[in-house]
Symmetry: C2
């Protein structure tokens, strides 16, 4: 899934080139490229990787993943959250191979431990192949974050082959701080990473049961998929379908959901703070992406500027300095939550072209 707009990282991430297409950590690869490699190297044959994105990003995907065949880039005409995205891709896959096993993953997250990750995905595949169930990768919470979904689980059953796979009891989206603290202390909650594993048969069955109207819209197009009529059909369907997440549409309702607790070095890189944590730092704890950045008497800053930009910075402590094409943002790190307001004000005063 590579269709989001990533407005939290404005102006680094903008609607014309969102976060998943950016080398946010300055390591030479965008998050999408890292995600592709994570799967292509060890989990599935590269030709089986489908990228679902917004139609406007098709060229960006082709540019960043030049080896991917055109027909593997699935373009959504409108942004309708993850349920339509999963439904569309699932029926397309089912038409080709009704026995397919599927991983659904965001393309703008960080996973540091690739070997552990592969092990986790393979264990989930094994489970999903052997019974009708839906799996998600769960992350042990490290702080009472109110921005994530929390999954409460039952202890692993004795007959479970992989003891890290546990039956899901409840899903709770974005709890308040008090509840998040309670979840963290209780010890039987995991963060929902948004990485799902299932057989194509199980997810289609679940969608048809828990979100039957939306499922029907996509099922009815099965004759047109992978033919020249597909685009026209999909444009019509996206106009009609609801904007809902697969979590809300299926996962929270289904009773055959499992979570695999996995220490994969995961971060959704959802805040400048989490990005900073994963960036390389200089001796003054500055995290710099950019080839020509000269810092003096500066500490704890995040600097993200284009390669060709020369930046001289003096006397800044704990600031975010980001330049992207025609936009410059300078903001205290501790005030990063204000960026959303800045973007709204920019949009209101200067127009869409700057967001």
């Amino acid at each position: 899934m590579a269709g989001g707009v990533g407005s939290r990282f404005w102006p680094m991430s903008r609607s014309v080139h969102p976060k998943q297409f950016i080398d946010v950590l300055g390591i030479g690869k965008s998050l999408l490229q890292q995600t592709y490699e994570r799967y292509a190297n060890h989990i599935c044959p590269p030709e089986n990787i489908l990228v679902v994105t917004h139609a406007s990003y098709k060229d960006l995907v082709k540019k960043q993943l030049p080896n991917i065949p055109d027909e593997n880039i699935i373009c959504e005409p409108l942004r309708k959250n993850t349920a339509p995205c999963v439904a569309y891709a699932s029926y397309k896959i089912a038409k080709k191979d009704p026995k397919a096993m599927v991983v659904v993953a965001p393309s703008d997250h960080l996973i540091l431990k690739n070997t552990t990750f592969e092990k986790a995905i393979k264990a989930c595949f094994e489970k999903a192949a052997s019974e009708d169930c839906l799996l998600t990768i769960g992350i042990r919470p490290m702080r009472p974050d109110t921005g994530y979904g929390y999954i409460q689980y039952n202890e692993s059953s004795a007959k479970e082959k992989d003891k890290r796979i546990k039956k899901v009891k409840t899903f709770t989206e974005k709890p308040d701080l008090e509840m998040a603290k309670f979840f963290l202390q209780s010890g039987d909650f995991l963060w929902n990473s948004g990485i799902f594993v299932w057989s194509i048969a199980s997810i289609i069955k679940a969608m048809e049961k828990y979100m039957p109207e939306e499922a029907a819209l996509f099922r009815d197009g099965i004759d047109s998929y992978n033919t020249p009529k597909e685009q026209q059909y999909i444009e019509k369907v996206y106009e009609q379908c609801k904007n809902i997440s697969i979590d809300y549409g299926v996962m929270e309702k289904a009773d055959n959901v499992y979570v695999r607790s996995s220490a994969i070095g995961w971060s959704d890189l959802g805040t400048w703070g989490s990005l900073y944590q994963h960036m390389e730092k200089d001796k003054d704890m500055n995290a710099v992406v950019g080839k020509n950045v000269m810092l003096y008497q500066s500490k704890g800053c995040i600097v993200h500027v284009p390669k060709n930009k020369l930046v001289v910075m003096e006397g800044l402590e704990d600031y975010i300095v980001v330049e992207s094409e025609d936009i410059l943002l300078i903001c205290k790190k501790q005030d990063e939550q204000q960026i959303r307001n800045f973007v709204n004000e920019v949009k209101a005063r200067k127009g869409e072209k700057f967001v």
Copy 2:
């Protein structure tokens, strides 16, 4: 005179477009354009204005002063300070009109009181036309600045028609702080504005007396001036002539020098501090040049960015934020003297193209 490189205002001012060509105050006109208008409007016919500049700025001058004839742009092949500049222009003028009266002026200063300025120049013209003398415009010092030249004067003689015109006793270039404080307190010192008035006969006479070798170099070319042979001659002469200022070469040595104390609202805009003082400020005392600058919780900053750049700044107090093409500088206002070191380090590490 419009040939300087203005490195103190890097990166706003750079060797490819120095300070005199920049609208530093954000009022819609560069300092050169303001200087041109100051003279063209009331002091002399526009066709009598000569711009002496470095050869590499010829196109910039033509662009900014489209009405000026090509032959009025005098190009120096090398930078050799003000004495060669004055000598070259003076002999060229003398060939055309040996009776000419001349004002020599920098093009990167601010003069706020144009009416007072015109009065001052006209009083100097009158004096310079009536006797063999050299005049400079003096400014009442406002602080013990160690960056200026100081002029000590004798009280105005009884026969002086304009009581503001006084005989010069001594010149002191860039005194130390203690001496500058003494000059300020004593009350009989003025800052040298670098604006000179004289007849072409008097300056040539003085140059031939006090810097005879340099004067001879330029005098010997008189046959080639205003002919196709001029450029070749001048290139040879600039290779040979010394790098000296007209102050050092003539003014400090001559015994017929006068200063006219004039309250013309002068500033050489030589530091960010002096620039800030003359810029329009918002309610939080931010001085902004740029069309798309949005400030939050920011005070006392100087922001100078291109028109098309959107800047969002939060939580900065007393900073200089300057962007110019491929360079961004962020620096505490109080540390502006460090900018010179930054420029040197940029030059050493990244090469000439960034300075």
